[in-house]
Subunit: 475 residues, 2 copies
Amino acid sequence: MAAPPNASARAHRARWLDELKRFVRFPSVSAQSAHAKDVRACAAWLAEQLKQIGMAGVQVIATPRHPLVYAEWNRAPGRPTVLVYGHYDVQPPDPLQEWTTPPFEPTVRGPHLYGRGACDDKGQLFAHVKALESCLKTTGRLPVNVKCLFEGEEEIGSPNLKPFLERHARALAADAAVMSDTRMLGPDRPALTYSLRGGLSLEIEVTGPRQDLHSGTFGGAIHNPAQALCEIVAGLHDARGRIAVPGFYDRVRLPRAVERAAMKKAGPPDAKILADAGAEHGWGEPGWSLYERTTVRPSLALTGLTGGYQGEGSKAVIPARASAKLNIRLVPEQDPREIDLLVRRHVARITPPSVRSRVTTHLRAKPAVLDRRHPVMQAAARAYRRGFGVAPVFLRSGGSIPVVNLFQDVLGIPTALMGFALPDSHIHAPNERFHLPTFERGIATCRAFLEACTNLPTGRRARAQTTAVAMDAHP
Amino acid sequence: MAAPPNASARAHRARWLDELKRFVRFPSVSAQSAHAKDVRACAAWLAEQLKQIGMAGVQVIATPRHPLVYAEWNRAPGRPTVLVYGHYDVQPPDPLQEWTTPPFEPTVRGPHLYGRGACDDKGQLFAHVKALESCLKTTGRLPVNVKCLFEGEEEIGSPNLKPFLERHARALAADAAVMSDTRMLGPDRPALTYSLRGGLSLEIEVTGPRQDLHSGTFGGAIHNPAQALCEIVAGLHDARGRIAVPGFYDRVRLPRAVERAAMKKAGPPDAKILADAGAEHGWGEPGWSLYERTTVRPSLALTGLTGGYQGEGSKAVIPARASAKLNIRLVPEQDPREIDLLVRRHVARITPPSVRSRVTTHLRAKPAVLDRRHPVMQAAARAYRRGFGVAPVFLRSGGSIPVVNLFQDVLGIPTALMGFALPDSHIHAPNERFHLPTFERGIATCRAFLEACTNLPTGRRARAQTTAVAMDAHP
């Protein structure tokens, strides 16, 4: 008889951690072209892993930018097919000086593995790979058919995934998808995410004089582009913390009272969110809890600010240009294209005539809501109960995963968001880390999920049950 | 008979340019500690130059940071003594990508020598060195006694000059000082600067959460330090372009009507200032010309802005901190210490309670006004007429040279600001350049200045005539 998954996980613990470290060591930063080679090397390594564990049809598939890694196991005819998605690219590691150990030298301290991507999403993706391995090694087969699709462009908005899915929709046909790229509430509090905010990343550049000027010679006579940029940015919110872009809230629907009550019960209280953030004070739209502000209400965050002299000490200069990066999060009724347009109009309107401004769009992602009663959600809930010993809560997330919409729109399937990140995993931040006991329970959960999926409805019936919100394009 | 200076200048043109290039090649960036070695090497090279041209008592004098270079020629007993000041340190060269040729690979294009420091102040300082050389080589002597004091910390506010002057006031005794570190109005329009604004360089740092946060997970619930910084910076000016710090203008005196009329006649019109700046639009305090806004009115410029992700593309992050560098220019009645305090109070007052702010002072320099009728000003005017064939105009400058106050306060002598920079020399900016025909005429002017100084009053009489504004310390 095959060993139970937990025993197998314990036996392989050291090797699996070692492999995860090798995975994290690749600086697969998709946003920075200097790292394109590292992204490719990471894809090749991941493909090799999938071959070694016994998956078939393993391929590294080139795209115009970073490759996809594909693998399958199709030897359960008549059984449902599950598409396992994850991403092996990572966020830029800056600011580097704030890491205790270098971001691409994965290091175990206490119960955590530290490193950029350790949690988002290499560690979580790897829980699925190790669950497949454990299943194949102990039973020689998988309980359902599996297609793995691992992306190298998630952190830059998946620009090449849609055309790929469209071209290969038939080959990628499945009954449901699963991905682990969301948060639990704590090590013993698993959570199934059923709602995601959309995303819109913009950059505002303000230019003025042809080149940098001496701040003594010209100070007082020329509008400083860095100052004008600050004035524009200050004009994006009103004094109460609401976004000041005209029309921004027009399509935002108020959540029903019953949902607000459920959120209040299941979701984290303000104090927990502040503790997770390491912040003393909350901020934002009056009349909403912090959990609501980050999930059922849209937000606009300044993610980067650059202009003039950034070195030690001082430099007497009026910079010729300055720029700000923005990340807007949208709720389901908002269309990223429409909001993009509204923000551009507002920025143009509040740009002082003494400078010029230009807005660039880096990425647009639609919001999504998933049906909590769909069988794949029930399968994920069952798997969490097996892996963690408790039922998951259903959560809204403030983040964006555009892939969920693509799977709905192009493949017609829902996605179970069965995440293993913790509130203090420092996703996108310095000292990102993955909680190793959760990694192990995650592997057991992923294996239990495959087993629970044997009951999934297959074919047309599955697709009829998906309810990801389809956005109306802006007229 | 000795050759006239111009003929000698022509004969030595190639060698002098070659030497200036070697001088500019040192990346003597005083603000950046990584360049401390380069600053020292540059000082040693300059000292060697002074020895070679026949100056005596050449020394490289250590200070707590960057050294001074001293040399003298004291063989004209009974004649006046002139202190020649200049600085061999330079501004940081950023932004590097905007230089046509690298900042420390001096390159001649057209009539200009390009390189960081080519004009500010290595080229202008070198005009004095070459004038001394030309004089000593052709006549074997100098018309007056000369003490050279060349500084390596001017661009960081001369932190160690005052204690040095105080310790060596007797050895540095002179009847007047001269420095070339100011602008003319054009290649044929020499100018004597008689007024300098003071300077105050501050940095505002805003901090919020303990570390960077995911902008999806926390966006809308936590006050973004970069956004709060923009709000604070936007609160430093009012909507009309006046500085919004309470009390800021309290001590500013209105110039007399006769001076405004003279400034209008001698100073550059708005169109000329805009052309020099490469800007389409003016900006600032209503009711004043651009020349007035940059000279008799104070100003506040944002010189640097940093926060969050500054790389390619986007990163979904709420930065834990952001900072802005400010450069404030003060008119004669304003005390840098008092203004520093007022700005700190204002920043504290407008910092939202949801973040923390901290202000650091990088440098403070007093404003100065010089008496246009002082004999050393007349000597400089005569020298310009010899070197350029026309009389100089008297100009106010928007820049700051704290050394002028130190010479007044500690040594009791006035300084002739006999500059050779041009409005389009790109001081402090990329592609800084020195106009080589002006370099040559500058050498002739410096030599003529020494000759004109034979008439300077010496001893106590000289000191009684100086009128640099003595600032009242803030009570």
